[in-house]
């Protein structure tokens, strides 16, 4: 008859960890990999249909507008700075700082979503115009869907940190939310360059 022998005692291990140590962080990273792959697919599709046209965008379509989309992309990139500030507060388990940071980010993501709505208009093409329109639209639309969902998530986190029953592990979740926002803001830059600059350059 065998018996159990307790050789490892884990009583003293922490219950809140951040970054690579946290399983939720790893889960978030896996989802970023999935969504990143999807964004790559959109980009590949755009480039693939490009070869079926002599001119890009195909006449009579005109190139996308540049002013508002550039402001929108820059705004999105700059939100990483308050996001970084929030990220630091989260990691220090600073409840008040996290609450304020989340509130600020809630407003900023709302503005980002609002600015994004103009990007669709500034494409100067419709999804059913031709393959160029379809490819440009889906690329913007896919990122926008993620952006909108991330905005909702940020609002939920804000609500949780202000009003909800809080636990230590929620700081870890907020940490993942910050990491995801970096992905959102930075992944947009190559897509913005592709959609709004490539038709002008070639």
């Amino acid at each position: 008859m065998k018996t159990y022998e307790k050789v490892v005692d884990v009583t003293e291990t922490p219950t809140v960890v951040f970054g690579r140590r946290a399983s939720t962080w790893m889960g978030t990273t896996a989802f970023i990999a999935i969504e990143g792959t999807t964004l790559v697919i959109c980009i590949m599709t755009y480039l693939y249909v490009r070869k079926n046209f002599h001119r890009w965008p195909p006449p009579p379509l005109v190139v996308p507008d540049l002013i508002r989309p550039t402001i929108s992309a820059l705004f999105l990139a700059l939100t990483t700075i308050p996001n970084y500030w929030l990220h630091q507060k989260v990691r220090k388990l600073d409840k008040r700082g996290t609450q304020i940071g989340l509130l600020v980010m809630s407003i900023l993501v709302a503005i980002a979503v609002w600015l994004r709505a103009y990007d669709f208009r500034d494409l100067n093409a419709h999804w059913d115009t031709n393959a160029y329109g379809s490819a440009a639209w889906i690329t913007v639309a896919f990122h926008s869907t993620l952006l909108a969902l991330e905005a909702l998530e940020t609002w939920v986190f804000t609500a949780l940190f202000w009003f909800g029953p809080l636990e230590g592990k929620h700081f870890s979740d907020a940490d993942d939310n910050c990491a995801y926002w970096y992905f959102m803001a930075i992944a947009w830059l190559p897509m913005y360059a592709l959609i709004f600059w490539v038709p002008r350059l070639v």
């Binding site: 065998k2 697919i41 909800g164 029953p165």
Partner: protein, 651 residues
């Protein structure tokens, strides 16, 4: 050739302390009962089991479709099934077998076994696991409801555009296909994320990378392949749906879209998918060979490297499904080379198993017979795979019954044989009872003979000009006799599967009790009761070698210090599996099920109007918030034992 007599053993003597722990765990890990309880049950044991059973139901449905096709093709100019129905049947067969059976059953076995094999109490994100199962179930049920009301997809499981596009497939049949794909992709991606995180973070202390069982390695590689391949078909099928619903032009050549774009998107997923089915099977083979030869698999590091190499290379082959399209010569040579060379890592694994059997003491139980059948059958599929990697030959074989033969040799030989073996092998763990060895052996021989009689003649038929996906053929073609042989073989397969089901059902009810470790296996899933209790392990095990149960003395090393008053899992470091932190495992709740329903409403509505997506997001919002929003009563319990690295100032 005698099977080991299973003996019920009380393998572990429980102290008073252990009994107290057991009582506490039974309370804290209890899952709600009844039908509503079933909807909430987030135990990987429950989810894994129902996943496997659902997949088997789809396997039977897909098999019945195959039977109908063999009936129709058994003689020329058969008038039983017309083209409209036949096209639905073969599309249903392919879609069912690939999306509703093969991939889900492999991930399901993984979801059930991985936590057991690595020594943890539940998977990462168990609610996501439950959600994944329900989306899969809804997707599969939706497909079959559509089929029974004569709206089954009919453009082939690969749904090539423009045939599947708005111009040539009016109606909703192809939309049903596209959304079913989306459902199953969500389930597969959820499972993949769960498996990756579970394997990386929840291994028992001491289970460093070089001690992970090969099956777990295989599931890990598979999960990564799912992450990087499934988005291609998911995005592609959404583009197809958009072309059909809102007049986008991704695949419409007249507006600058491209029919070949679909093929690239589909096969960049479709080829890895073959390995998503095959690699878990390789893991099953390693587990079974190890147990029934009684020695470690020869060259473990090489086996692991082979799995990883196969996983990487699986992404470099997709164009070999497109050799008959205009592809530059240089590209063709590259893909020919890649497609032949991928045979090497698999070949190496086969050689290592043969070496293991050679040095071991094989016990010829049903699982091992299936593995021997696997090698004999699969190698035929492998060598024909090398043949069709050659562009000139593939141009003859492509889209003919030679390919049908090849792919069934690969998927049945490489997937089903190991799966049947795995089923016999792990059945005692799933149910606590042994399957009948006598019936098992008859099952094996019928299946082995049936598969070869059915599929071997198809090689010849293909090169004699019989193309795929035809509902009938003219008598002048001379294809009648071999088709009749093939159909006769299908009858044998049906018998063997019926026998298998009979064996499984009767054994589940009346089989000999199995005990913890009936086969004398080495890995940790056998270090708990059969079937495992909801808390899985009374004490989380500590892994002291590559073969913990073989190297065990009279003491079983375990972990202490995990809370027993709440559900708590131990998390370890990624490489060396040193204890790192503790985290609660989410309580079961109803919201993953509600969210899956909302997802169902979203995708099914989206067949008719693009507003379905907006409606879906609105419907999903509340369940998703509730899904993760903490419940105060549960939380207070958890907070009492929280240990933070820093003081939780101001909370």
């Amino acid at each position: 050739m005698t099977a080991p007599m299973p003996v019920v053993t009380q393998e572990i003597a429980l102290s008073a302390d252990d009994l107290k722990t057991r009582d506490e765990l039974e309370k804290s890990w209890a899952y709600p009962r009844g039908f509503v309880g079933w909807l909430k049950n987030t135990s990987h044991l429950s989810v894994g089991k129902r996943y496997i059973i659902t997949a088997l139901v789809f396997f039977i449905l897909g098999g019945l479709e195959a039977g109908l096709m063999r009936l129709q093709l058994s003689r020329p100019e058969n008038a039983w099934i017309g083209p409209d129905l036949y096209n639905q049947i073969f599309t249903m067969h392919g879609t069912t077998m690939m999306f509703l059976f093969a991939v889900p059953v492999m991930t399901a076995v993984g979801l059930y076994l991985v936590p057991l094999m690595i020594g943890t109490r539940n998977v990462f994100a168990p609610r996501l696991n439950l959600f994944g199962y329900f989306t899969y179930l809804i997707g599969g049920a939706f497909l079959y409801v559509a089929f029974f009301v004569n709206n089954g997809p009919d453009a082939g499981w690969s749904a090539y555009t423009p045939l599947s596009g708005p111009g040539f497939s009016p109606g909703k049949r192809v939309d049903v296909w596209a959304q079913t794909i989306t459902f199953t992709e969500i389930a597969a991606l959820s499972a993949a994320v769960i498996i990756i995180v579970t394997v990386f973070k929840q291994r028992a202390p001491g289970m460093s990378l070089n001690r992970i069982p090969l099956f777990v390695w295989a599931m890990l590689v598979t999960a990564f392949m799912i992450v990087f391949s499934m988005p291609w078909v998911a995005t592609g099928s959404q583009m197809l749906a958009a072309d059909r619903l809102i007049d986008t032009h991704f695949f419409n050549a007249a507006e600058g879209g491209d029919a070949l774009l679909w093929q690239h998107l589909f096969w960049f997923f479709g080829h890895p998918e073959v390995y998503i089915i095959f690699i878990p099977a390789l893991g099953m083979v390693s587990a079974i060979v190890e147990t029934f030869t009684g020695r470690p698999i020869f060259a473990y590091p090489v086996m692991v490297l082979s799995l990883i190499t196969t996983g990487f290379m699986g992404f470099g082959l997709w164009v070999h499904h497109m050799f008959a399209t205009p592809i530059p010569q240089l590209g063709q040579s590259f893909f020919t080379a890649a497609s032949s060379i991928i045979a090497i890592p698999t070949g190496v694994q086969i050689f290592c198993w043969i070496a293991t059997i050679w040095a071991g003491k094989p016990r010829f139980t049903t699982p091992l017979l299936f593995i021997i059948g696997f090698i004999i059958t699969f190698v035929i599929g492998g060598v024909t795979g090398v043949m069709i990697a050659s562009v000139p030959f593939d141009l003859q074989a492509h889209d003919t019954y030679f390919i049908v033969a090849h792919l069934h040799y690969v998927l049945i030989g490489g997937g089903l044989f190991p799966l049947f073996g795995a089923f016999y092998y792990w059945f005692p763990k799933f149910t606590g009872r042994m399957m009948s060895e006598r019936l098992g052996k008859v099952n094996f021989w019928l299946f082995f003979i049936g598969v070869h009689v059915t599929f071997f003649p198809m090689h010849i038929l293909g090169l004699e000009g019989m193309t795929r996906r035809i509902y009938t053929y003219l008598p002048e073609t001379g294809w009648g006799p071999l088709n009749m042989v093939s159909s006769a073989g299908a009858v044998i397969i049906v018998l063997s599967v019926a026998l298998f089901l009979f064996n499984a059902i009767t054994s589940w009810r009346r089989g000999a009790p199995a005990g913890d470790n009936p086969w004398g296996a080495a890995s940790l899933e056998w270090a708990t009761e059969s079937p495992p209790p909801p808390y899985v392990f009374l004490h989380v095990p500590v892994c002291t070698s590559e073969h913990p149960l073989w190297d065990e003395t009279d003491k079983r090393p375990v972990v202490t210090g995990l809370r027993t008053d709440i559900r708590e899992n131990l998390y370890t470091t990624m490489m060396d599996a040193e204890p790192d932190h503790r985290h609660d495992s989410p309580e079961p709740n109803i919201w993953p099920f509600i969210a899956a329903l909302a997802t169902g409403v979203m995708f099914i509505t989206a067949i008719f109007t693009a507003w379905g997506l907006v409606i879906g997001i609105i419907l999903l919002f509340f369940p998703c918030v509730k899904w993760g929003w903490p419940v105060r009563a549960e939380q207070e319990k958890r907070l009492s034992g929280e240990r933070d690295p820093l003081a939780l100032a101001g909370r």
